[in-house]
Amino acid sequence: MSARIEVRSDDLALAGWVAAWLDGMRLSPPVSLAFELRLVREPLVGAEDSRTPFQQPGVEIRSGPPHGDVRITWLAAPARARIAPGALTASVELTEAALADREPLQQSFLAVVLILLLRRAGWHHVHAALARDPRGRDWLFAGDAQSGKSTTAALLATWGWAVGCDDAAFLVRNPSSVEAVAQRAPVALRPAGRALLGLAGGRPARGGRKSAFFPEDLGGTWAARVEPRILVFPRIEGERTSAAPLPAREALAELVRWSAWVVLEPELAQEHLDLLNALARQARCYRVALAPDLFHHRDLLMELVP
């Protein structure tokens, strides 16, 4: 059973732009969610909110008591959103100034609103790349922007793996397992990563600082969902790629680290934490040092994690 994310606005062009962005991600949450968009005059003036903000790049998020809602403020230009307690709709106010630079508006503001809205549907965000190896085993690589997730995801796609995403995944509880849903987006590579892979072209991304490739561009396929049985915490290190098993408790602590949103909204935090716990229990967990030899040995990861 899947639903969709609706976009409502009096401004049809604005609604169409946001709807196209959402459609491109191919997310089908289990309940209907909505973005309610309003173009407003600046400056935005709102009710006093003394809650300590949770800082993420370019945004501030306030949640929890006493209001119980979630409020997201974009720091680059006047834009804000509110999700009322228990609501499945995000009320978003945008200004012309915010709309002037749409890529960062999408990537650092609307993406955060989406993450917090999907949480209401039981989908919990984790910074991770998702992949399915040629043996049909599902992998989740969790880590930050410097951990090698994107380059590894692109490399695996060139070897014919199915790749779901390179950065934003959502954990979903099923009756007997935890699944990870991929947010459809091209793998975004820095020039160094692209050079390592010997890739040319790609779509300009992140203001031209990165080049982006869908898995299909690289010879792979797209995996919309995986059921991770191998959990990897990668880091770029040394001359030889290696893998060391990680106890489940340490893996859980790592997952908490890469799931920043777990601390928000007390009524959802336990559900999120338990989901990370279930994932750490269902998977074999490894700390993997990624090194240049990985690029020359296509079965190396599968050999290290038999």
């Binding site: 949770f54 929890g64 106890p247 489940a248 408790r249 340490e250 859980l252 602590a253 908490v256 680290r257 777990v262 601390v263 928000l264 007390p266 935090a269 336990q270 934490l273 338990d274 990370l276 716990n277 750490a280 229990r281």
Partner: protein
């Protein structure tokens, strides 16, 4: 004066393989806890005295009352300092 300890209401706890991870939503810090720490945190879902906490340990582990009290005291002192536990004093 009776001193009782309890978990901070913003603490969330999850257990796996006999150990656990505690997450403080207010400070946004997380802690890994070993088996005995998990036992104590689970017991602290409701207010407990130091003696009651020591009892949790002696009931499960082969330790003397004094060892259990020392362990429980060290745990609650660290917990209070970290803001993970609250101390209530009642006449």
């Amino acid at each position: 004066m009776t001193r009782r300890y309890r978990r901070h209401p913003e603490l969330r706890l999850t257990a796996l393989e006999g150990e656990g991870v505690a997450l403080h939503l207010g400070t946004r810090r997380y802690y890994t806890v070993n088996e005995s720490g998990l036992d104590l945190l689970e017991a602290l879902a409701s207010p407990k005295t130091l003696d009651e906490l020591a009892g949790v340990l002696t009931a499960k582990y082969e330790v003397t009352d004094a060892q259990a009290t020392d362990t429980a005291r060290a745990f609650v002192e660290r917990g209070v300092k970290a803001g993970v536990l609250l101390l209530e004093e009642q006449p």
